[in-house]
Structures are given as C-alpha cells and as structure tokens.
Symmetry: C2
Subunit: 248 residues, 2 copies
C-alpha cells in the first residue's frame, strides 16, 4: 500500500492473512512492514499468518502508515526460519529500505562485494542485497524518486533474467513494484465506494473512513477484493507509486 | 537477557514495561528485539510501554529467545518518534546487530564516513553507527566473540568520554553490556528459586519453568526483582555474556 494520508490496512490485511494457510498455500511464514515517517515497524513470524498471534494483533491494531509492504511466504529457496521471512530491511543513506519478493530465481549467486550481505538463505534476500549494493554505487546520497526509478529500471532486468522477480520495494517515500509474472494494482480515490474481500466475508464502505483528498494505491499478486477493477501489470513492468498515485 | 536455552521474557517484561510511564518516567517510546537463530523480531512503539497494545502482546505471547534486548526511552536528544526508539538494528557481515543505549552524549558528532548512517536524530543511533563502522573496519568478517570484545574494549571509551554510555549490544551469539554509570546483572542457574518483581506484584518459581542445565543472564539499569542479589557493574566496565555465563 502507498497513500497520501496515513491509513491503516486492517481491512486488506484481514483478507490477505487468510492466504497464509487458509485460502491459499503460502503457510511458511509472513511479515509486514509499516513506515511511520522515517521509522519502520517490522513484524515477521515464521508461522502461518492465518494462525499467528502477531497477525491477530495487526488485524486488530490500526497502525497508520503511508507505505506498507506485506508478504506471505511459500518456501522455495531457504528453510522456514525467521531470518528467511520477508520483508527484509536494510539502511542506506540514512533511510530504511523494505523489500519483499514473490517468485524464485534459479542459480542466482550475485557478486556481493559491498556492504550488504544476506543474513538468511533465500534468493530473495540476495537479490535485495545486490539491489542495495548497486544503488549505493550509483548514487552518493538519496536521489529524487524519478532518478531512483531510472536506476532501478536498469538494475531489475539483470536480476529478472534468473527467474520470477515480482517484488515490492519502499523507502517510506515511494513504493516500487515490479512484475515478472503476476501483479495487479488499484488506485482508490474520491468518490470512495464499498468493497468486499475475495478471501473473507467482509465488506467495507471506504467513504465512511476517508476524506475527499485521500488517495490509496494497493498492489497485490492477486486482487484482494472481488467487486473492484484491478489493473494487471504487464510482465517486465516496473511501476512507482507516490502519495497514492502512479508515476510511471 | 542472554541464555543457553531459548527462554521467554514474559515475567521480566511484565515488570520492565511498568517503568515505561507507570513506576518510572521513561514514557517516550520503547522497544524490544528477540533473536531467533540469525533472525530478529524487533518491536518498537513511540507510545508509553505501560499503555502499548504491542507491549501487551509481548507480555502475553511467550517468544522464545537466547538473546533479548529491550529499552524504555526517556527522550533527551531526538524527538519522540518511531525512528528514535531503541533498540536499533543493522546488518554487518551477514548478521544482525541490535543496540540500545541509556544515557546521553554531549556534543557528540562522530565522523560517519562508512556504510552506517543514522535514520533518526538520537545521539544513541550515531554512537551505534560509529561502533558498527569501526567494527567493519577492524575485521573482514565476523570474528570470534573474544576478539570482538577486545575491539569493543578499545572503541567504547572513545564514545564514553562524551557522556553516559550504558549500552547493550548483541549479534545473537553474545550480549555485550557496558556501564558508564548504572547497570547490574544476575546469573540464574540450578537450583532455581522464586523471584518477585520490583515493579509489579508478581512472583514466579523458576524451578517450575526450567531444567537443571538452563542458565540465564539478565542485565538491567536497576534490579528487576526485589528478592535476588544483583551485581552492580563497575563504572567503565564492559562485560560479555554467552550462553548465560559471563566471559569477562
């Protein structure tokens, strides 16, 4: 989620968490990261999201954030352990960077000669460390969003050629999303309507919870609601979202 | 806490959290980090620990860990914001490092020319980034605990001369504790007895929850229990705890 007003994700998360073991088979851990200004709250848990006490807290505790990344894991590369749960967080240029990946990379062993090393054993964390290393080489300090997007557009295909590289990346200012295969998004804005979750019998009338100026972008592997129109990404597409709008 | 068997901190945390606004005036945020093997769960919250829904989860959810660092903040340098809550986490040599500081450093502006930059505005995070930068310069990869302790013993006085530098640092393998002023510790081992919290009317019989091989070291600014003997640190002392034992 990327938006222009701090918003809670309790509604979307209620459906999303069901995919971790109940309506889908991604039961090998989960995680969610919320930016609050420059700070990050990261919750990770190597249990199924549908049965996690921490996920239960997230469903009930409305944390307000403008950039949220959540992930439910089906282990392909790397054991089911806390250090292999997404999202991953690193600091670069005095900002936190949060990354989550869906898909897997075959025979991927990037040259990590810089300051970012994986702690766990996933291909995803390796890809994240490589992206961070290359961003650090390309810029001396945090550049404008447009410039970062151009650098990422050069870097991403170098990873994507190893397999499926659907990912979300945020520094609290923007949300970058890349699709190798499946990713879709929706931009919600005034006039807000109601929506019904695909994974749970729950509806919400956004008009009751928003002001006319609010803008919210949601990106997900599969649509989270069954009565809204989600736009699919074109394979290979990198999009960046700022203040609930898409820039590219 | 540092111990040889994954242990939960629900008992100690019940008392500790009361110091965040109820039995003490440290109400400007709090945090707790749990290592699980190489992974870390970090919970931070810019509200008073005694009233935080996240603290309530920690009190009730027994997360098993061998290395836990928790902190309750009274803001001296840096606003009350999420990014200023301790503990702070960084990755070095493919391991996470967790740091919390009590005290304040006057006119402290270390030269941060390396890969670690503060995200928030505290003197504490600057000191942590400087320590990480200097560790990265001193060793090419993660060295044995004894060697790290020697390096830290050289680095720490260079920070401590700027003020009060009571801190806890862990990489999941060992817990380093340094006292400029107040810090005390206790080593619990067989035969385990009962203990009563200083800050809440709660007792526990550790014999019921342990095996004869368990060893637990606890370090705190002030004793957490009122009926056990806590050993004070000598000002300037750096101690390292591994598997519930002190090595120095």
């Amino acid at each position: 989620m990327n938006c222009n007003t701090p918003t809670d994700v309790t509604f979307s998360f209620a459906g999303f968490a069901q995919r971790g073991g109940r309506t889908d088979h991604h039961a090998d851990g989960w995680g969610i990261a919320f930016f609050e200004e420059r700070g990050v709250r990261l919750f990770v848990d190597p249990t199924a999201a549908s049965a996690s006490p921490v996920a239960d807290l997230i469903r009930r505790y409305p944390i307000q954030s403008k950039n949220v990344i959540s992930h439910i894991r089906k282990a392909t590369v790397g054991e089911v352990r806390l250090e292999n749960c997404h999202p991953f967080v690193r600091e670069l240029w005095g900002r936190y960077w949060v990354f989550a990946h869906n898909g897997d990379l075959k025979d991927y062993a990037p040259r990590l000669h810089g300051q970012f090393r994986p702690v766990g054993s996933t291909d995803s964390e390796q890809a994240f460390c490589w992206l961070m290393q290359e961003l650090a080489k390309a810029h001396a300090s945090v550049p404008p969003v447009e410039e970062l997007t151009r650098t990422l557009a050069e870097l991403v295909p170098q990873v994507a050629r190893f397999g499926t590289f659907n990912f979300l990346l945020s520094n609290g200012e923007a949300l970058w999303a890349h699709a190798s295969t499946h990713l879709c998004y929706i931009l919600r804005q005034h006039p807000f309507a109601t929506a019904k979750l695909s994974d749970e019998d729950l509806s919400v009338n956004f008009a009751e919870h928003t002001t006319p100026n609010d803008r919210v972008a949601l990106v997900a592997t599969a649509p989270l609601t069954c009565d809204e129109v989600w736009t699919p990404f074109v394979p290979g597409e990198l999009k960046v979202f700022v203040n609930g709008l898409t820039l590219s």
